[in-house]
Every structure is written in structure tokens, then in C-alpha cells.
């Protein structure tokens, strides 16, 4: 895994040199779109957990499946070097993210594990959705607390 990512990052600078700005823009688009997608699927689950929306198993499973798919996506590849807040316009990632890639990887792994359990986890009722939202939300917070600009 490390090797693959190392290889990916070895190739990346070459691409970045070729068309720097567009590569950066694509990276921001991909990673911020990833977060928007997580958010768009967490939203309905959180609303169900709080009771703002009636529990609907099929819909809960639908969003949980989407989150599981996102968990399997290695979004780290879009965190190109030198694309932190202050380095490129529109980035909200703190520079220290890049100094703690092992930690970031571990936290993303936590999200992946929580998301993988979500499709089964949300079945059975509102309380089930609540538990899933808690476990997923915790992994959001873990990373946002440290690596997202406030």
C-alpha cells in the first residue's frame, strides 16, 4: 500500500510539471467533490438519526452503500504536494496534513472500516442509523479537527 502510494506520488510531480495549474485544479475538484459526496450521503442519514426524516431502510441502505463506496476510494492521491491552504486558492487543507500522512491514512482507514459496516449497520430502525452516524461522524471529526482549516 505504502509502495503504491509512493509510486503514485513519484509519478505525480511529473504530471504536475507538465500542466501544473490544471492538475491542481483537478485535484481540488476531486477531493472536494469527494467530501461533498460524503456530506450529501451523511446528511440524509443524520436527519434520519435525529428523526427529522422518517426512518426508511431502503434509503438508509442506499446512502450507506454510497458511503461504503467512498470509503473504498483512496482519496489521498488527490492531496498533491503543495496544495495546502495558502499554497493554492480554494484549498482548506492545513499544511500539517502533509507532515502526517501516516496519521491521515490511518484516519481514512477508520472511515473506510466504519463505512464498510454502514450498509448492514443501518438496517433495523432509527437507532441503528444513529449508531452508524455516530461512528462515521467520529471519523469525519478525527480528521477535520487536525487537518482542515477552521
Amino acid at each position: 500500500m505504502r509502495l503504491i502510494l509512493a509510486a503514485a506520488f513519484a509519478v505525480t510531480p511529473a504530471l504536475a510539471l507538465a500542466q501544473d495549474d490544471s492538475a491542481v485544479q483537478d485535484a481540488l475538484k476531486a477531493r472536494q467533490g469527494y467530501m461533498a459526496a460524503i456530506s450529501a450521503n451523511m446528511g440524509p442519514l443524520a436527519a434520519m438519526a435525529k428523526g427529522d426524516v422518517a426512518y426508511d431502510e431502503a434509503q438508509a441502505v442506499f446512502h450507506a452503500n454510497n458511503l461504503a463506496a467512498l470509503g473504498n476510494y483512496e482519496v489521498e492521491m488527490h492531496f498533491l504536494p503543495d496544495t495546502a491552504q495558502g499554497q493554492v486558492e480554494g484549498s482548506h487543507a492545513l499544511p500539517k496534513l502533509w507532515d502526517n500522512l501516516d496519521d491521515v491514512r490511518a484516519k481514512h482507514e477508520d472511515f473506510k472500516v466504519a463505512a464498510a459496516a454502514a450498509p448492514e449497520g443501518v438496517k433495523g430502525g432509527q437507532a441503528q442509523v444513529g449508531a452508524v452516524v455516530q461512528s462515521l461522524g467520529g471519523t469525519c471529526k478525527a480528521c477535520h479537527d487536525n487537518y482542515r482549516a477552521k
Binding site: 455516530q134 461522524g137 467520529g138 471519523t139 482549516a149 477552521k150
Partner: protein, 192 residues
């Protein structure tokens, strides 16, 4: 004039002080080191909010030493007090002294701001969304997370200052300010 032992702090104010200390510290520690689900932090925050409301009311209707008009003085009086501050004698001050009053106000304002920013914060984790976050714009609720973080730093600074000054009074000026806040009784001198 000799200092006299008198009942300075009323029970409600003392309860307020120690409850506030407890909930602020609890909220602070839970916020930094607590579990991902911050419902305990939230309830500490609500407790702080309630205590602040009490203090605001008590500042107008409470006993004399608790009233704002009693301890909020002009810069002249503050300067005069500051000039004598480093003498190694107890102040025997009958209440919040003119400089301490500044600290009280700073603490109350920062805590009120902290409660406010916490109520509208949305840290985008779907579990710790402030109860009033939906009442403001998304940009505001996101920015509020930053203000809330900044507020925590300010509170830590004020608390350290508060404790530092108490230690300074205890060991430099040889005046115990903690015991009066527990018992209500303090040696005071009303010569001004």
C-alpha cells in the same frame, strides 16, 4: 484601620463561581480530549450559558459585592490600584479589586462569545452540530468552528492568568483569595 473579617461573598455567587469553574474546565477538556461524540461538552456549554445568565442578573440584583456597579470602576482607580499592587501586603479589598474587575468582565465576555460560537458551529461531522447552526449561513456556521477554537485559546489564557494572579496574591502579597470564595468570609479594610 485594621482589616475586619466580614461575610463578603454570598452563597449564590460562590456556587456560581465553582460551578462555572467546573463546567468551563470540563467543557474545555472534553472539547480537546473528549470522545468524538461531544454531547457532554454540549451540556457543559449549556450549563455555562445558564450560569452566565445568572451572573448577568446577579450583577444587577445580587448583594453589593456581586453588582457590576460595585466593581466596575474608572481607569484612575485601576491605575492607583495597580501602582500599589506589587507591595508585599494583602489588599484586604472588599470584593473584586479594580484590576480584577477587568478580568471578570473579560472572562464573562469571552465565555459568552464561546457559548454563542458553539451554538452555531457546524464542524461538518454530522454528530456535533451546534443546535442553532441551522439558523445561520453555512459560511458562518463553518467559521464559527474557527472562532470556537480561538475562544478556547483565549479562555485558557484567562484561566492561567486568573490562577497565576491568585498564586501571586497568595505567595507574594500573602493574601488567600481561594478560601473567601469557599467560605464567603474575607479580611477586608474599607478605608476608601
Amino acid at each position: 484601620m485594621e482589616p475586619v473579617r466580614e461575610k463578603l461573598w454570598d452563597p449564590a455567587l460562590r456556587a456560581f463561581h465553582w460551578l462555572l469553574a467546573f463546567f468551563v474546565i470540563a467543557a474545555w477538556v472534553l472539547g480537546k480530549f473528549g470522545p468524538a461524540n461531544m454531547w457532554l461538552h454540549f451540556w457543559c456549554g449549556y450549563a455555562v450559558a445558564g450560569l452566565l445568565v445568572f451572573r448577568l442578573i446577579w450583577g444587577f440584583v445580587g448583594p453589593e459585592p456581586a453588582r457590576f456597579r460595585h466593581f466596575l470602576t474608572g481607569p484612575g482607580k485601576m491605575l492607583r490600584y495597580a501602582r500599589g499592587m506589587f507591595r508585599r501586603v494583602p489588599s484586604y479589598w472588599p470584593g473584586h479589586n479594580p484590576l480584577g474587575a477587568l478580568s471578570v468582565i473579560a472572562m464573562l465576555l469571552v465565555l459568552a462569545a464561546q457559548v454563542g460560537s458553539g451554538l452555531v458551529s457546524d464542524p461538518d461531522d454530522f454528530i456535533n452540530v451546534g443546535p442553532l447552526a441551522g439558523q445561520v449561513s453555512q459560511a458562518t456556521s463553518r467559521a464559527a468552528v474557527g472562532w470556537h477554537n480561538l475562544g478556547a485559546v483565549l479562555i485558557l489564557a484567562l484561566v492561567i492568568l486568573h490562577v497565576g494572579v491568585i498564586l501571586f496574591y497568595r505567595f507574594w502579597k500573602r493574601e488567600d483569595l481561594v478560601r473567601p470564595m469557599l467560605t464567603g468570609w474575607k479580611l477586608v479594610r474599607r478605608d476608601d
